[in-house]
């Protein structure tokens, strides 16, 4: 097999994340590429969570897809929740769960339970795990692989004299072990992955390894039944990281020195990662300090980041929708005062608290238009881990060069997706601090003699600096005089044109696919992966050649660049894809195309777009059957 798709499910707190980490490390260690996303409730312990992963021997997977070939279930709820997500594969589960009946699972949402109950009834299945497994074996080509968890844990407990209350920690290892056994991966790589994950805690590594051995022994007959081909990957090392980690690394490379945050999903992890890099000594050189400040709220987070920026430190904050809303007054201040500051904005399901641990792209308009009054800002979006890392670093360059707040839009999907990517080439990455003040004496922070006034930092000798959110004169003192008002206003607003002109077009928009396409998909952020893979599939299936336009700078909106492409196509061959209801990016394109006639693929369940459903949607649109498809896959 060239690739395998996996779902690992279980209650929050049962170690699913550990499974994800270990599986990623083994896979990457063996040279396979992996992409794995984590889905979970806004809950700490008990509600259903799962990993959906794709492991490939061919190339880096860019999207996830259903159905999968392995469903590994830590509990019965997982089996009921995902029985439709697997076909022709193996279900790994705890033998003891066979007796569990659907209506006896308290942690499951009533609405979901009811829906599944009705489905099962419709199919004439007894609503128990055993009933369901029977059906799946018969109708879905699925092989049940019950494992007696208790037995394995019992042995472990005996060998290592473990407290029985601690045993549940090893369940995730049972599950990963079963998967790696099916994939035919060797012991050595398991050991290395465990050592890397549990770092230095030798005893724990050993115990987990014992579990692996036990499972491996138990499933010896099944070893390698889902074996992957030899990996085509030739590189010796890979970065294996989540989107949060990619952004944190990008910021460090970009010269971040002050990061403020107020905890919020899915942004907080980024700051917690950065905290670990507060001060580093590497190769005899000191890197940092990076101050990571947990503030009392998001208003303080953005205000203090702006304050830090005034001293010359590269500064940023990270948040999601509710926190962003609280920041917009200060962003308007930064716009008025031409302060470079970076706001990393991880979108989740809205509105309001919404689906706080699920993904979405419904904050586009808020990112672009929130904050009263008119001022220049830049909004960036990243389509995958590599872009996210690069953009996180480059956001500071854009901010300082144009002296504007930069909003970097990401989302929960990326934040919580682990990917294996090549180690970035960094020699090329420039640090552009923009125009600095070099004179002495009579400094004017808002000097009108050039479009971008040279920056001095508070604390620098020879410059007195005033800032105010009021309209101001060149020195930064309040002014209500009308001519100055117009000149200052123009100066700030004309930056938008400057940015449009000076930012290279590859930074605004990337095209992938046919150069004379039959259709074009327009998207941004996390749509990239699924769209790119869908292009290939659809061409193979229908012969239609498409192009994907990956928008990386959303504001100022790259109208000119986009128009060049869209003007060549009939509107119904322009397909907008977005995790939203409104396919809102279309309204930003409205100037140049007839939005009403554009087709769209949208999703707003908070779950990622899956390759298969995406391809099917494309087919429906390209065959003229519909112009709007709402995607729904994923539990």
């Amino acid at each position: 097999m060239k690739e395998i798709n996996v779902v690992i499910g279980g209650p929050q707190g049962s170690g699913i994340e550990t499974s994800m980490s270990i599986l990623s490390k083994i896979s990457a260690g063996k040279g396979y590429w992996i992409l794995a996303e984590r889905e979970y409730y806004s809950n700490i312990v008990g509600r259903h969570s799962y990993i959906i992963a794709r492991i490939s021997s061919e190339r880096q997977p860019r999207s996830l897809t259903l159905p999968v070939q392995i469903l590994a279930a830590v509990d019965a709820e997982t089996i009921f929740t995902h029985y439709n997500d697997i076909e022709n594969g193996v279900v790994i589960y705890n033998k003891i769960d066979e007796k569990v009946r659907l209506d006896k699972i308290p942690s499951m949402e009533d609405l979901l339970k009811l829906r599944i109950m009705n489905e099962l009834k419709g199919l004439g299945i007894d609503p128990s795990v055993s009933g369901l497994m029977e059906f799946m074996k018969r109708e879905r080509g699925v092989e049940p692989l019950p494992i007696d968890f208790a037995q394995i844990l019992g042995k472990l407990s005996e060998s290592y004299r473990l407290d029985p209350r601690q045993l549940s920690r090893y369940v995730s290892t049972i599950v990963v072990s079963a998967i790696t056994t099916l994939l035919g991966l060797d012991e050595g790589s398991m050991k290395i992955a465990l050592s890397s994950h549990f770092r230095d805690r030798e005893e724990i590594v050993e115990q987990n390894f014992a579990v692996f051995r036990e499972v491996s022994k138990l499933l010896s007959e099944k070893r390698g039944i889902l074996k992957l081909e030899e990996p085509k990957n030739t590189s010796k090392k890979m970065l294996v990281l989540t989107g949060n980690e990619a952004v944190a690394i990008g910021k460090i490379i970009g010269g971040l020195r002050y990061q403020s945050y107020y905890p919020i999903t899915p942004a907080a992890d980024e700051s917690e990662i950065l905290e670990k890099f507060g001060l580093q000594e590497v190769q005899g050189k000191i890197f940092g300090p990076i101050l990571v400040m947990q503030t009392e709220d998001e208003i303080s987070a953005i205000a203090s980041a702006i304050g830090a920026s005034l001293s010359g430190a590269r500064s940023s904050t990270a948040t999601s929708g509710p926190g962003f809303d609280l920041m917009v007054e200060a962003i308007s201040w930064a716009g008025m005062n031409e302060v470079p500051v970076v706001i990393t904005f991880y979108q989740r399901g809205g509105p309001s608290t919404g689906l706080p641990t699920r993904g979405g792209q419904s904050d586009l308009m808020a990112a672009i238009f929130s904050g009263h009054g008119e001022f220049a800002r830049v909004v960036l979006a990243s389509g995958d881990h590599e872009e996210a890392m690069y953009d996180a670093a480059d956001a500071f360059n854009i901010a300082e060069r144009f002296q504007v707040p930069v909003i970097h839009l990401l989302d929960k999907f990326l934040a919580n997706t682990t990917a294996s990517i090549p180690i970035p080439k960094l020699d090329e990455f420039k640090v552009d601090r923009g125009i600095r003040y070099k004179g002495t004496g009579d400094y004017k922070r808002f000097d009108l003699s050039s479009q971008i006034s040279p920056r001095a930092f508070i604390g620098e000798r020879g410059a007195f600096i005033w800032y105010t959110g009021d309209e101001h004169d060149e020195r930064g003192h309040i002014s209500e005089e009308t001519e100055n008002r117009i000149r200052m206003y123009n100066k700030r607003m004309e930056k938008i044109k400057l940015i449009e002109e000076e930012v290279p077009s590859w930074r605004k928009l990337n095209l992938t696919g046919s150069t004379s396409p039959d259709f074009i998909i327009i998207g941004w952020g996390s749509v990239k992966g699924v769209a790119l893979e869908a292009l290939e599939k659809i061409e193979a299936r229908t012969g239609f050649k498409g192009t994907y336009a990956n928008l990386r700078m959303l504001w100022p909106f790259p109208r000119k660049e986009l128009k060049e492409i869209t003007s060549k196509l009939a509107p119904e061959k322009i397909i907008v894809a977005e995790h939203s209801y409104g396919a809102n990016i279309a309204s930003l394109m409205a100037t140049d195309i007839k939005v009403d006639e554009v087709a769209s693929i949208v999703k707003y369940t908070g779950r990622p777009m899956m390759l298969k459903e995406f391809v099917e949607a494309l087919e429906l649109i390209l065959s003229g059957k519909t112009s709007r498809v709402v995607l729904k896959d994923g539990a």
Binding site: G31, K237, I299, R314, G459, E460
Partner: protein, 314 residues
């Protein structure tokens, strides 16, 4: 003798004639002058209100921020460049109304900044609504009904929040106020000064005439010593300060209520957690590039981010 530094910009001041803010400005200028603080190392961070305009009248760095947010702006500035002397000016509405959350948070950090509150009992710049320090049932002239909200006691709140230097001054007792400001600047940790500030236009109750009658100085009382001289004393002195802040006999004490130099400052705590390179090396003076290039070559990258690197095992 060194020439005196001139800390006054040449801007016309647009406060109402007779406003207490003139007294506060004069005291601050004098304090800066006497302490000879380097203007470029000094930052006045103000909120929005009549009081907020002070940033423009002082020739140092001035950051006139948002209503209620001077403290967090100041925090970022100070953390990023701990060499700065950072003084926050805010109105009573600014610091104890919309900004009360930040006011409390600053106390528990004990960051080394000074917060000067222009306490005039009203929202001056929006034309005289009741501020959080206006007592219950008071009816200043702009109000159509007596104030229905109770009063915040700024000294008590500051003490409860953890400020390690807490004092009260009076706008028109310039020398006394100047000394308090100097002590606050020299204090290591978060300092708060509640300055009674007559608003001649909107507050016809808490006027200069009124204050003249009721104000007295703590330090003139025998036995009053607000200074923690041994860390063990901290709680006792704090309680004494609270007690003094509560007294409601109609008279109003000014002076220092509490001063504790022993509590660790936020900067010290950061320093400790960052291997003591901070505050010498800090966000705004540490290197982030070398001739326009980033600092990370392949080797440093791989060492720094080794946790995310998986090596091929065969």
């Amino acid at each position: 003798m060194e020439p005196k530094i001139n800390y006054r910009t040449d801007l016309w001041i647009d406060w109402c004639p007779g406003c207490g803010n003139y007294g506060i400005l004069a005291a601050v200028l004098k304090a800066l002058e006497e302490l000879k603080l380097e203007p470029h190392k000094t930052a006045i961070v103000s909120g929005i209100g009549c009081s907020g305009k002070i940033a423009h009248y002082i020739k140092a760095n001035g950051v006139h921020t948002l209503h209620g947010r001077a403290i967090p702006f100041a925090m970022g500035l100070k953390l990023a460049n701990p060499e700065l002397n950072v003084i926050v000016h805010g109105g009573d509405g600014d610091l104890l109304g919309i900004g009360a959350g930040h006011f409390v948070a600053m106390g528990r950090r004990n960051l080394d900044i000074v917060v000067i509150m222009h306490n005039n009992g009203v929202y001056g710049l929006t034309k005289g609504q009741a501020s959080p320090t206006l007592p219950l049932y008071t009816k200043t002239k702009k109000l159509s009904h007596p104030n229905l909200q109770g009063q915040i006691n700024p000294i008590m709140l500051a003490l409860a929040a953890g400020y390690t230097f807490v004092a009260r001054g009076y706008a028109f007792d310039g020398n006394h106020l100047k000394e308090i400001i100097k002590a606050a600047i020299q204090h290591k940790g978060s300092a708060f000064i509640d300055v009674l500030q007559p608003c001649v236009t909107f507050n016809d109750i808490y006027t200069a005439e009124f204050y003249k009658k009721v104000i007295y100085k703590l330090e003139t009382e025998t036995g009053w010593n607000p200074n923690v001289e041994d860390p063990k004393e901290a709680d006792v002195k704090l309680l004494a300060a609270l007690e003094r802040a509560m007294v409601s006999d109609g008279r109003i004490p000014i002076g220092v209520f509490y001063s504790n130099p022993y509590a660790s400052t936020f900067e010290e705590r950061i320093s400790q957690s960052l291997g003591r390179v901070y505050p010498n090396l800090h966000p705004s003076n540490s290197k982030i590039e070398e001739e326009g290039k980033n600092l990370f070559d392949e080797k440093t990258f791989e060492e720094m981010f080794k946790d995310f690197i998986v090596e091929r095992i065969g």
